[in-house]
Amino acid sequence: MSLLRPVVGVTVLLWLLLGLAYPLAMVGVSQAVLPWQANGSPVYLHGRLIGSAHVGQNFKPNPLYFWGRPSATLSVSTGKPKPYNALASSPSNLGPTNAELIAHIKRRIAVLLKQTPGLRVNQIPADLVESSGSGLDPDISVQAALIQIPRVARNTHLSAQFLHRLVEASVLAPDWGMFGVARVNVLALNLRLYQALHG
């Protein structure tokens, strides 16, 4: 039995179907039907691209903004920490008994306590001091947003009540009201904040 013809034939023909026709057709249909999502859910401000709705970005240590979760991504060229580097999504990979992990968390707690008037440790939710799986998590818990209000209020001179309303307005419910958790998209919240500050 000669194998050459079926082996080569099936490889090439299935490639035309699955390696070429399928992805190109999917791009075509997606671009036609759901262009905003298919193009990466871009967010614009005054016509300028400021990010993607699904990708977190780095606001730390800028004291004017709400901060996202710690990010462990690195620079591709230097290998040094570069938070929210979307070109090199990565977790920290630190194990549960690694002393470095505990040191990182303690340091982040200390920074929050130092910069936030009146904050106590037992108000800080874990997501704000433990780094995410992708380094690009766009969200924080509602509690993580609320405890940042005193710091943002002090630095922006906006009232705490106003910022509270801003956070409440930014809360995303769980999908279909039942899957996942209520959360705040940090870019969306900061965009509202930016508009309040700059009109």
Partner: protein, 564 residues
């Protein structure tokens, strides 16, 4: 447990329970050439393919021919994959102008994608062009699971007294009748949730905080769907399904979970439908389902309770969020990780290296057993291997000649099944020992203490089980691991498939015995219980010692607040 967790689990488990029968019946119809609703759009296309390659739909091969055709085709996949990655710089659809992939990485990647392992020693978003992603790697994510599925189907045909079938026909049908139609649907759902699907280049954003951010894009949704439907698990980006570009919402998370489980559970039922032993299929499904639930509980509860060392710092919440994404919730995350380890997909929605020791034990169970549904076809083969060993053990105990589906289980079958069973721990334990024994192996360890040993065991278990996920800290890009895990991957994949095909061939050649009052029944809860117990005993005897040195030792040290 939160309401969201309970609802997520209920919806996923209910969906699997509702889909297993229709999916299984559909698979059985396709591969016994009965009419289905997809005949109209695909028959002409398939006939065209069969005409060009010169095979007929109804032709048959021997186990040897089937195996040789499978190996030859897979070899060509790997060679072409290697060549295309090496030529990346000269090929089209490369808006980021990425150059050739280096030879070692191209070998490791081609081997790992050709074996449906999808172990990745690179970050897709800064290594692979759009063409390499969709034209090479995404293509392999269709045809390699189709290969595994074909092998499973050939074995089931043999068990049901049919001839083995033709590898090229099975490979084609697996793509046209199962993977492609499902991939189209899942792709569009994922785009709706926010997964990009474009050939436009990366986005350059100027952030509110005055920085710049480059956001990778590409045909990600069409990749993501087949990544999961084929239990491939190769991430488009380094963070895989933890990356919001690959898995943007709790809903997309559920869609990806269902995608990876649909075909493996369907294959369990298809086995029953094709052999006419539906009750046996439910027995096997219950055994695998039992292990799935144990893994789910073992993944969830330690993570929800959190790391005692961190809890002692006095934060407001206790769940372990290290390496996890917020949007899925603890319930969604634990369901995803359980599924990816049970179905041997190997995509991750969080960082496995940062899971607590007991939850990581659940990941190891998935890879060691390799039959908690497993990859489609292959997982069923592993389950039937345990069935044959269990029947043999029962036969020894009651002093009767063991039979399965009316065929005597004799020396040849038991020998082959034992080889298939022992090969798995051999590859994992010898690989780990070699790594621990050599400086080259120890160099790749990232986390200190027992966790470092777990990283090595995980790497080899992942290769041998063709899972492909990793304790991400391990230096997978080191030459030692690229080569050692590459080899383990290839042996783990093809040796067990070959052994099972030979068992199928051997059983097919035997006379069918009529059922008597002395026949041991395999479709009863009693047999299910014995099978369940045998699987635990066989695997505990094999793997408990190394687990005691890794996750179990770490658990006790963590409870004592010991840091490394």
């Amino acid at each position: 447990m939160s309401i969201s967790t309970m609802l997520t689990w209920t919806v996923v488990l209910a969906a699997f329970l509702l889909l297993i029968k229709p999916m299984g019946n559909y698979i059985a119809k396709v591969f016994t050439f009965q009419p289905t609703i997809l005949d109209k759009p695909f028959t002409a296309l398939e006939n065209g393919i069969f005409r060009v390659i010169g095979v007929s739909r109804a032709s048959n091969m021997t186990a040897r021919q089937y195996g040789v055709a499978l190996l030859a085709t897979n070899l060509l996949f790997a060679v072409l994959g290697y060549a295309a990655l090496r030529l990346q710089g000269a090929l089209p659809f490369n808006p980021q102008h990425l150059g050739a992939v280096n030879p070692q990485l191209a070998f490791n990647t081609a081997a790992s994608f050709a074996t449906n392992t999808n172990w990745q020693a690179y970050s897709g978003e800064n290594t692979m062009s759009y063409f390499s992603q969709f034209g090479v790697l995404s293509y392999l994510q269709f045809v390699t699971p189709a290969t595994g599925g074909a092998a499973g189907i050939a074995f089931v045909r043999a068990m049901s007294g049919r001839k083995l079938g033709n590898f090229f026909v099975d490979l084609t049908l697996m793509c046209t009748r199962l993977l492609l139609p499902l991939a189209v649907i899942v792709t569009l759902i994922l785009v709706g949730q926010g997964v990009p699907e474009t050939l436009g280049g990366y986005l350059h954003a100027h952030t509110l905080a005055g920085q710049t951010q480059t956001i990778p894009r590409g045909p990600i949704a069409s990749w993501e769907s087949i990544e999961h439907l084929g239990q491939n698990g190769g991430g488009y980006t380094n963070a895989n399904s933890a990356n919001p570009l690959e898995n943007p919402s709790a809903l997309s998370n559920i869609v990806e979970i269902l995608s990876m489980g649909l075909l493996p559970v369907g294959f369990f039922y298809a086995f029953g439908a094709m052999t006419g032993k539906r009750r046996l299929a439910w027995t096997l499904t219950s055994v695998a389902g039992g292990f799935f639930l144990i893994m789910l509980a073992l993944t969830y509860f330690p993570e929800a309770a959190g790391n005692p060392i961190i809890n002692s710092l006095g934060l407001a919440t206790h769940g372990n969020m290290v390496g996890k994404e917020l949007r899925f919730g603890m319930g969604g995350t634990s369901m995803f990780e359980t599924s990816t380890m049970a179905f041997t997909t190997g995509s991750v929605a969080s960082a496995h290296d940062s899971f607590l020791p007991l939850s990581s034990l659940s990941f190891f169970i998935g890879m060691f057993l390799n039959m908690v549904f497993g990859g489609k076809g292959v997982g069923l083969l592993n389950m039937l291997m345990f069935v044959i060993i269990t029947i043999f053990l029962m036969g020894l105990m009651v002093g009767r000649t063991p039979e399965f589906l009316g065929k005597k289980i004799e020396t040849k079958e038991v020998t082959l099944a034992s080889i298939a069973f022992l090969l798995h721990p051999f590859l994992i334990l010898v690989g780990t020992a070699l790594a621990v024994y050599t400086p080259a192996g120890m160099q790749g360890v990232f986390n200190p203490g027992p966790h470092g040993l777990s990283e090595i065991i995980y790497g080899f278990a992942s290769g041998a089980a063709n899972n492909g996920s990793a304790f991400g800290g391990l230096g997978a890009a080191l030459p030692f691991y690229e080569i050692a895990i590459g080899i383990v991957t290839i042996i783990g994949r093809y040796a067990s498939i070959m052994a099972m095909l030979l068992i199928g061939q051997s059983l097919l050649a035997k006379k069918s015995l009529p059922e008597t009052s002395g026949t041991m029944h395999t479709d009863t809860p009693l047999f299910g219980g014995i099978l369940f117990g045998s699987i635990i005993v066989l695997n505990a005897l094999t793997f408990f010692p190394i687990m005691a040195l890794g996750p179990i030792a770490e658990q006790y040290l963590m409870l004592a607040h010991h840091l490394f």
